[in-house]
């Protein structure tokens, strides 16, 4: 069964199609890069997979569960199983790294349990999070406030929070655009290494074609809400990328 299955999905923002008649199927454990210019609908596509955006038409299914037909509780279950790394990290800045990561598992806890687990964390959970931070490269930041960290370090907290969810898949929205270019490769390498080790399905949207080709065996190209290509990276020619961006350049000329 496909982890993510989109059938003819369209999303409208103010009457304009952000995603247009998109169909795709992503299998468990696949590593997929989603490339395309800004405003192509990459973020919308990722958010569709969480049920964070409702489609105007078509259907989105996660592990065979059609998101449109789920109850609130069932949708929360799907979301708890899906880690999402936001472009702007979305952490609570005036709390410690530990507290932020603990909050990743709120989707699996009842509220009273959440209060206990987050504000009186058990030693075992603190050790688990310390190990997660070791894997993302910032174990020494466990007890620091998030707002004392650099952007790159905050991203690692966000990744640790997503992993603490014990997800089946990991979605990352433009993780490279918010860190400096030198760290971009580290971030993509980290995400793909963790996904391989844990057998997670990984979907990452990014601009950097070089990194996309290097780390993702499958690439999906998007432009103007359309999926323009969806194929194995080794079958992908330069002309595919050129088309993806060349037309945008022509449009930029028009705008100017």
């Amino acid at each position: 069964m496909a982890r993510f299955l989109l059938r003819n999905v369209s999303v409208l923002f103010h009457g304009i199609a952000a995603v247009h008649e998109a169909s795709l199927s992503i299998q468990p454990g696949e590593l997929v890069g989603i490339v395309g210019p800004s405003g192509a609908g990459k973020t919308t596509l990722l958010r569709l997979l969480l049920g964070a955006i409702r489609s105007a038409s078509g259907s989105v299914a996660v592990d065979g569960r059609d998101l449109d037909t789920l109850s609130g509780r069932e949708l929360r279950r799907v979301r708890a199983e899906t880690g999402f790394v936001h472009q702007d990290h979305r952490l609570v800045p005036n709390q410690r790294v530990l507290t932020n990561v603990l909050a990743g598992r709120l989707g699996r806890w009842s509220f009273p349990r959440a209060l206990r687990e987050v504000y009186w964390p058990r030693r075992r959970e603190v050790e688990t999070i310390h190990r997660l931070l070791e894997r993302t490269g910032i174990p020494e930041k466990l007890f620091q406030r998030v707002d004392s960290l650099s952007g790159g370090q905050q991203q690692r907290v966000a990744i640790a929070r997503a992993l603490y969810q014990r997800p089946r898949s990991l979605l990352a929205d433009e993780p490279v655009s918010s860190v400096d270019p030198a760290r971009a490769r580290d971030t993509i390498a980290l995400l793909s290494r963790i996904a391989r080790e844990e057998g997670l399905t990984l979907c990452v949207s990014l601009h950097n074609l070089e990194l996309a080709r290097e780390y993702f065996p499958r690439l999906i190209g998007m432009r103007h809400g359309h999926i323009t290509f969806d194929m194995r990276t080794d079958e992908l020619g330069d002309d595919h990328f050129e088309e993806l961006y060349r037309l945008t350049a022509a449009e930029m000329m028009q705008d100017a």
């Binding site: 969480l50 880690g83 979305r90 609570v92 909050a103 709120l106 989707g107 509220f111 929070r161 969810q165």
Partner: protein
């Protein structure tokens, strides 16, 4: 053009009010006996009394200290009660809270509206008026005095808390919701921690105000600095009155300095 009309309207309204009240600067020139009294009072400021001006001649500073402590205790009790009530009402008066619970859509206008009306009512009546009402009902009762301060303060805190909750950045809360957190957990773990420094800072500011309110309640006979000021003033013991006024001044400035430092730490860090 529109600005000058607006300005003219404000000046006009001021003149109209002055005319209606029959204000004339001449009234500020005291007659001879009042002039003497005013001068005595102002001169007394230079020599605040250390011993009571009554026949007993007891030392003033211990009384001032005790009254200052009482003032702080009253204000602390009042603000504590206000924070509890203000937090509950503030959450119920925030739009974010109700938006989190789609299931309550039917109840929302009633509870949200009722809370806002209640908060407005609590705020619109000054603590001195509440004190008059409650003292009439319960007599010179400490609990009544604390509640008198707490009612308008809880209303004000609730209003500001609800505004802070509605204006705090909610991106972290949204991230938690997208990770499957329930509505209550989203609110408590995503939004409240981010709003808390601002809420705390505002509470400290209100504590300063509560000190002044607690002092004023001394006029009704509660053992705060206001009582000593009122009594010594009534006896025309101006030098003694000035000692208590200075004590109140020092107390307020000290607390402002302390809470200012705390507020800065809360919001800047």
């Amino acid at each position: 053009m529109r600005r000058s009309i607006f300005l003219a309207a404000i000046v006009g309204a001021g003149l109209l009010a002055a005319w209606h009240l029959g204000l004339s600067p001449g009234e500020l020139v005291p007659d001879r006996s009042r002039w003497v009294l005013l001068r005595r009072f102002l001169v007394a400021a230079l020599t605040p009394a250390l011993r009571s001006q009554s026949e007993l001649g007891t030392s003033v500073l211990p009384r001032a200290w005790e009254a200052a402590v009482h003032t702080v205790v009253f204000a602390t009790a009042a603000i504590s009660l206000s924070v509890v009530a203000g937090s509950v009402l503030g959450v119920l008066a925030s739009e974010r809270w109700w938006r989190l619970f789609p299931a309550t859509r039917a109840l929302r206008p009633v509870l949200f509206g009722a809370t806002r009306v209640l908060i407005g009512f609590m705020r619109s009546i000054h603590e001195i008026l509440w004190a008059i009402v409650l003292l009439a009902a319960f007599g010179l009762n400490t609990v009544a005095a604390v509640i008198a301060i707490s009612i308008p303060y809880a209303g004000t805190l609730a209003k500001i808390f609800s505004e802070i909750l509605d204006e705090t950045e909610d991106d972290a809360a949204e991230a938690l919701r997208f990770a499957g957190a329930g509505s209550l957990a989203t609110f408590v773990f995503g939004l409240v921690p981010r709003a808390l420094p601002d809420m705390g800072a505002y509470t400290f500011y209100r504590f300063e105000c509560a000190l002044r309110s607690a002092a004023i309640l001394g006029f009704f006979g509660f053992p705060t600095l206001g009582k000593l000021i009122y009594e010594s003033f009534g006896e025309l013991y101006f030098r003694e009155a000035w000692t208590y006024l200075y004590a109140l001044f020092v107390l307020i400035v000290a607390v402002e300095w302390w809470s200012g430092a705390l507020r800065q730490r809360l919001t800047v860090a």
